[in-house]
Amino acid sequence: MNWIQVGNLEDIPRQGSRVVKTATGEIALFRSVDDQVFALNNRCPHKGGPLSQGIVHGKRVTCPLHSWVIDLESGEAISPDSGCAHRLEVRVAHGELFLEAEAGVCKA
């Protein structure tokens, strides 16, 4: 397991999201209003909508396609919907973002 630096906290707007592209699909990184960072697959469990394009509120994001609400900590859809966008480990150290990955290097 590797920690790959993918950028700085400042690169993601507060209550916003940025995308990290990987060979196996996009990962959405979210920054909450209180500067916590979360990482999920950038696919809504409902119809694959890009979660990174949703409105971030609290520790949740609302999918832009059909307004499913996904919990950022667990990746689970908020009931009554059910499904999971699979969270990944992400850490902030000295303002730098590190994402968990099997392997690979970051290309800016």
């Binding site: 916003g16 940025r18 694959g48 949703g54 409105i55 609290g58 609302t62 970051c106």
Partner: protein, 814 residues
């Protein structure tokens, strides 16, 4: 107690007396030390609602008009259960039977009336009850066991209500009446017959044209004997043969009385220190037993007690409704025509509808309606106004709905009523006051309207009308139960508070607003944040910094997200007019970017579909280069101005609809609105641009421009309402800007104009846009001011690098 305060003593703790005090307190709260004597042990309750209490449709508690606290809060000394037995006019004191003596400077007698107890043998037997007070009702209820027999003597309004109530309690009820049909004072023979039939279906039995000879029984009532000798059995006899003003006290004090206590137009008795109001008085030869006149009298008496001395009571014309659930009956004025009067009749036996109008000199003199009473208040209003009805005579019987324009939806009958139409006859509340209270005070329930306006708070027979007005004023938001709908779970606040609260409290950002209004979540949610962002933007043009994080993705990136996560790009094509050069530019850009779908939209533009997010700024740069701006096809904002070719080409065209459309689009583009906003301009009434299903539609005619508003071609098709006609293009622009601004300031976020207009009513829009030239100019000015800050092309800004992070990946891992 202050020495210099004058002392007002009120004898009678009923509706007339207490209403006088309420009116007095409104005008002059500190004028008097007030003492009230009531013979009954209860605080002031609504005597008209005894019938629903009797029938079990309402608990007594709900009929209390002024609870104990009210007396306390207004520093009124209240003696309940005390009968005043003496007025000493020399010493200016009143005295109760148990010896309380209170001095007065002014005395108000409001002793009401007593039921007439027929002078027949057996009238004193247990089980014979009058019908006047809650105590009577309680006595009836105690006796009202299912299966037992009740006889009501008197088939008037009150008697029938009592009979109906007892019948609903399970008793076998008979009504004995002197005349040929019930309610002969309010109904003619036909109407009375219909009423009788309806009540018979509900199980009442009628003995008409019968006179009571004796009430039978040894220790309690067992039956009744008529003059003709027939006997019927009864376990309970209710006397409801009329009321008699209660004048015993006044008479004993030497105050001049005839049938009632004689009063002048100022409600003064022959003793100038003593006033009288209510059922106990006789004014210009009339006594009244209905509530509306009492309240008019109360207003006048209060005015004189407060020493304004301005008002005169000149008698009342009265209308009546029967409060028996499920039976609609309305009566007003003189409904028995005399020689020279005209009689208009409508009788539909199958529908159970009967209407009779009596005209004299082209004016309405009286009305009797049975089965369909919706237009009762309208007729009553015309009766009181002395309206000349010769013009509408042909349609008069069919009601107000039948006059004027057709094509309005249901509920239009209250919408069509003028603001001056009286809705609640009891309290003299007209439609305008109800609508104003609903709008100004944000009322949402019937109870709130009652609390604020008193409409339908007395006899309740206009409840349906008040509800219709409420529903009409609030549109889809009206619910019979509580109350304001919060925007979302993050808050208790509703949409309708927001714009005004933001302006009034000077709230300038979402966090500030959430803190001031005690939001329950740290940063809201996807429902409330876009709404708040819109309200702030609309409230503080040029000042508020748009919060892109509170925008739905389409508005954040100025393109429309598609099901696969790609976007559509739709450049603005002003008024739907394009050129070979523009088409070529679009074609080349589409080819260069390998756009999968090029589509002609419904709004006369060209849509490019399947653009990836990363590619958007590049494509925009090329479009901007070719002279295009964003079409805002993605926003709660002005979408398109659709036009036809108009007088430039069309052989039917009356005006330059394309030119006007382009002007309108150039003025309005880029504006943010509560929901999307579509405009069209048609060059003639053939209306090829479909202007009458747009939010703002202009139909050119030879003499000018018709303006239509509130149309919708979407989920629920709604044809526009015709707003007005103007004569110049400049006026079209002004009306358009003013209308958009009114919508921006008044509608809830995500309200299209159609539901908004259904809620606020077209008259509201007309009042602001058509009638009020100054207000219109101000709205227009505010619209133009806000447009100064909203016409920077968002595509150009982003093509030049604004918010670049939106369009690029943070990183790529390989």
């Amino acid at each position: 107690m202050e020495q210099d305060k004058k002392r007002l003593v009120v004898v009678g703790n009923g509706m007339a007396g207490i209403r006088t005090i309420e009116e007095l307190l409104k005008m002059s709260a500190d004028e008097f030390d007030i003492t009230v004597f009531g013979a009954e042990p209860q605080p002031n309750y609504n005597r008209i609602l005894l019938s629903p209490v009797l029938s079990g449709e309402m608990p007594f508690q709900d009929t209390v008009l002024n609870d104990w606290n009210w007396y306390e809060e207004n520093h009124i000394t209240l003696h309940t259960g005390k009968t005043v037995t003496k007025i000493d006019r020399m010493r200016c004191t009143v005295e109760t039977e148990d010896g309380i003596v209170v001095p007065y400077d002014r005395l108000l007698i409001a002793t009401g009336s007593n039921p007439i107890m027929l002078p027949v043998p057996g009238i004193d037997l247990p089980g014979v009850i009058g019908y006047r007070s809650i105590a009577d009702v309680e006595q009836m209820l105690a006796a009202a066991q299912p299966g037992k027999r009740a006889v009501v003597i008197g088939g008037g309004l009150l008697g029938l209500e009592a009979a109906n109530g007892l019948s609903l309690r399970g008793m076998e009820v008979s009504v004995v009446h002197l005349c040929e049909w019930p309610m002969e004072r309010q109904l003619d023979k036909v109407g009375g017959g219909l009423l009788k039939e309806a009540l018979e279906k509900r199980g009442l039995k009628f003995y008409l044209s019968r006179q009571t000879d004796a009430i039978l029984g040894e220790t309690a009532v067992t039956g009744l004997r008529f003059k003709d000798g027939e006997e019927i059995a009864a376990d309970l006899v209710v006397m409801s043969a009329g009321i008699r003003p209660n004048i015993a006290l006044a008479k004993s004090a030497g105050i001049h009385c005839e049938r009632g206590i004689m009063v002048s137009d100022t409600m003064q008795t022959y003793d100038p220190k003593i006033y009288a109001v209510g059922e106990c008085v006789q004014h210009r030869g009339q006594t009244y037993g209905l509530v509306a006149p009492l309240f008019e009298q109360a207003k006048v008496a209060a005015n004189h007690l407060a020493q304004y001395g301005r008002m005169r009571y000149e008698g009342s014309s009265v209308s009546t409704k029967l409060k028996v659930t499920g039976i609609d009956l309305f009566s007003a004025g003189d409904f028995n025509p005399v020689a020279g009067d005209d009689e208009l009749l409508l009788q539909d036996a199958a529908r159970g509808v009967y209407k009779k109008l009596v005209l004299r000199d082209n004016k309405l003199r009286g009305a009797v309606m049975y089965g369909d009473t919706v237009d009762g208040p309208w007729y009553f209003q015309m009766m009181r106004d002395g309206t000349d009805v010769s013009e509408m005579r042909e349609h008069l019987l069919f009601g107000q709905m039948h006059l004027g324009d057709s094509g309005h939806g249901a509920g239009a009958s209250v919408a069509n009523m003028p603001d001056t139409a009286e809705i609640c006859g009891c309290n003299g509340v007209c439609k305008g006051s109800i609508v104003d209270a609903i709008v100004d005070k944000k009322l949402f329930t019937l109870d709130e309207v009652r609390a604020h306006t008193k409409a339908s708070a007395s006899c309740g027979s206009c409840t349906g009308l008040v509800e219709a007005i409420l529903a009409n004023t609030l549109g889809g938001d009206y619910s019979a139960k509580p109350s304001k709908k919060p925007i979302c779970a993050c808050t208790e606040h509703a949409h309708q508070d927001m714009y005004k609260t933001i302006r009034a409290r000077g709230l300038k950002s979402i966090p500030e607003l959430m803190q001031a209004l005690e939001w329950k979540t740290a940063d809201g949610c996807h429902v409330c944040r876009p709404a708040l962002n819109y309200y702030l933007l609309a409230a503080w043009p040029g000042e508020y910094v748009d919060d892109s994080r509170s925008r739905f993705i389409n508005e954040r990136v100025h393109a429309n997200i598609q099901k696969n996560g790609t976007y559509s790009v739709i450049p603005r094509i002003w008024g739907g007019v394009t050129s070979p050069a523009q088409l070529r530019a679009i074609a080349e850009i589409a080819e260069r970017h390998e756009v999968p779908t090029v589509h002609i939209t419904g709004g006369q533009r060209i849509g490019l579909y399947g653009i990836t997010k990363e590619n958007l700024p590049k494509m925009w740069a090329e479009l901007v280069e070719a002279g295009f701006v964003s079409g805002h096809a993605y926003g709660k904002s002005l979408r398109t101005v659709k036009t036809c070719v108009g007088s430039e080409w069309c052989r039917f065209g009356t005006q330059d609809s394309t030119g006007l459309g382009i002007m309108v689009e150039q003025m309005t583009w880029g504006s943010w609105t509560p929901h999307k906003f579509k405009i069209a301009v048609s060059g003639c009434p053939r209306n090829c641009a479909e202007a009458t299903i747009k939010d703002f539609g202009i139909v050119c005619v030879d003499s000018g421009y018709e303006i239509h508003v509130g149309g919708n071609g979407g989920v629920k098709v709604r044809v526009t309402d015709f707003l007005c006609k103007v004569s110049s293009e400049a006026e079209v622009l002004e009306y358009c800007g003013a209308f958009m601004q009114l919508y921006r300031e008044d509608a809830h976020y995500l309200d299209r104009t159609a539901p908004w207009i259904e809620r606020v009513g077209l008259p509201f829009v007309k009042r602001h846009i058509v009638d009020d030239a100054e207000g219109r100019a101000e709205l227009y000015a505010r619209f133009l001011k806000s447009q100064q800050y909203s016409q920077d092309d968002p595509w150009k800004e982003r093509a030049e690098g604004k918010e670049a992070h939106e369009f690029t990946a943070l990183a790529t891992i390989v």
